[in-house]
Symmetry: C2
Subunit: 336 residues, 2 copies
Amino acid sequence: MKPTIYDVAEKAGVSISTVSRVINNTGRISEKTKKKVLQVMESLRYQPSVVASALTGKRTRTIGLIIPDVANPFFAEIARRIEDRGRELGFNLLMCNTDNNQHTEEMALSLLKQKSVDGIIIGTTTKNYTLLNELLQEQFPVALIAQDIPELVIDVVTVDDFLGGYQATSHLVSLGHTKIAFLMGNSGRTSDKYRLQAYRQVLEENRLPFDERLVVETDYSMEAGKRAALEILASPQRPTAIFAGFDLIAIGVYQAAKELGLRIPDDLSVVGFDNTILATIVDPPLTTIAQPIDEMGRQVMDLLVREIEGSKSTKQRVILPPELIIRNSTKEIAGA
Amino acid sequence: MKPTIYDVAEKAGVSISTVSRVINNTGRISEKTKKKVLQVMESLRYQPSVVASALTGKRTRTIGLIIPDVANPFFAEIARRIEDRGRELGFNLLMCNTDNNQHTEEMALSLLKQKSVDGIIIGTTTKNYTLLNELLQEQFPVALIAQDIPELVIDVVTVDDFLGGYQATSHLVSLGHTKIAFLMGNSGRTSDKYRLQAYRQVLEENRLPFDERLVVETDYSMEAGKRAALEILASPQRPTAIFAGFDLIAIGVYQAAKELGLRIPDDLSVVGFDNTILATIVDPPLTTIAQPIDEMGRQVMDLLVREIEGSKSTKQRVILPPELIIRNSTKEIAGA
DNA sequence: GGTTTTTGTGTAAGCGCTTTACGTTTGGGA
DNA sequence: TCCCAAACGTAAAGCGCTTACACAAAAACC
């Protein structure tokens, strides 16, 4: 049987509260007893039960992470960074994938609470503000990553989507493109909205016409990206450049282009968003907007932990700058 | 304050044991009281505390997952499948990334036990058999995924690495290649060993010479793969084909080839292993050995859960067949 | 109608730990 | 030598839940 604090106490010839004190390093204890107890703990290979101590009001040192899909490289990288920072801070990660499914998300949230996680990081497109609001109401530590809900007072860490969209579109425009398509996600993320705004603004600033047929909503997958690209590239208003809302979608565009015999970047310029590993391995390497994933993961975790430890009273939004990474998928428009 | 079982009991005018009974659906309860209690739970938005119930000997319905790195697409996909199956079965995943670092792994194991997970799935190359043996000794549910430790009686789910290596090498040989390099992982995974054995056996069966300078060990990263490939492709015994132990390494080979001006598959054939998303997006699409990731994830979870629920007494190894996916990175040797 | 069963519910003892409120020891100053 | 703070330990309550065990009340039996 697993040794308990009683076993340690008995073997060390002290009371359990004394053992508890050395475990938590609280109260006064003589060096001698402390040493003795430590020694016994070692010899018994004693490990305090987090479950029991959580029951007495202490933290579980576990935080919940809700994301759409770890198999999506962007979220995998995010998850990794969060876990890393969590480990440094002494927290573990309970991971839930929801595929942005409302019901799965509600289940996840409920489960995480039952399991007494100390806080929750959400990376999915929650539509259920009610549930979120409830959490906030009861002061439960929550933070949003890579997503914002402007209507709520909540801790958020995102990239500056407007700026990213601006950089991407500007880059394309500066290369002489005038017919630029924008493939955006369809799940109502604010990020998509901001990027779209930027896209429109750049067009406007450059006195380029906005053609709504050139912006299409798609799923967050390669296949969906491919389908959307195929369609738009076959249409009469075929664009010479495509701004894809995510690297994954950009890859779909690559496939569509290949199928249609279009060369990138000669016949079609493509810029992505995220700068996941995918962007570096496709051919040609993808010009994309880099999200500071490392920084983002680190900062949400920090934000959340400060909230958990109560060393912070006001919520905050952390908006990090994106960076345009020019690789070889974009080029001056032919004949320009 | 969060409602407890007492609150429910009081409001429903029954004792807490009655409430507990309806929660767990145990013992006898009249339909009437049951309904009443359920109703009160609903109205109070009561959720039983997993922590408290775990303390009384029930499960936490949480399982630990130890992998090298979720940011590695292979493990991300594995993690995703495991989580999916876990959700179906009512288990959550506590995820730990170790980068195959011995110390991190030990910490993770220790933490997971402190947190009373019901079982642990390990996907890292554990060298610490002692620790593992301890777990097994105390009948703690553990299962290995995508990795085997032949010396231990333990639940394992892997792909048939020997067969995979055999398929890969045979494919290359059947295309006329005689100078085939093998880039394998360097962390002592048994999978690498089996693949190497298969590689040698195929060469032997085909009366091809085995040149040990053509097998090189490398890290599990693109960069490492690239470095290794660069080196081997510059050597006097330049191979005409490379069997890369992982898709990630294969991508490194692509990059090396590009840098050297070698065309794939014309000047160099490449086959990978894993069939992650990466294999489909590189150009040319990578011929690779597919691991049945879905099936693997599902099966470890099943195995582990059966162990947890005690409905299974003997350990077992589940060896799933790989599949050679021929795409465009391999070709008959020039002039053959 | 009385005696068994059966059924429904309550009581109370923990699970392993933290923590508060008290006892005991020391030992230094007067 | 005596007194009073430290300094150190201990006992006990309680966290929210499960689970024997006990015990009425209701149903079943002859």
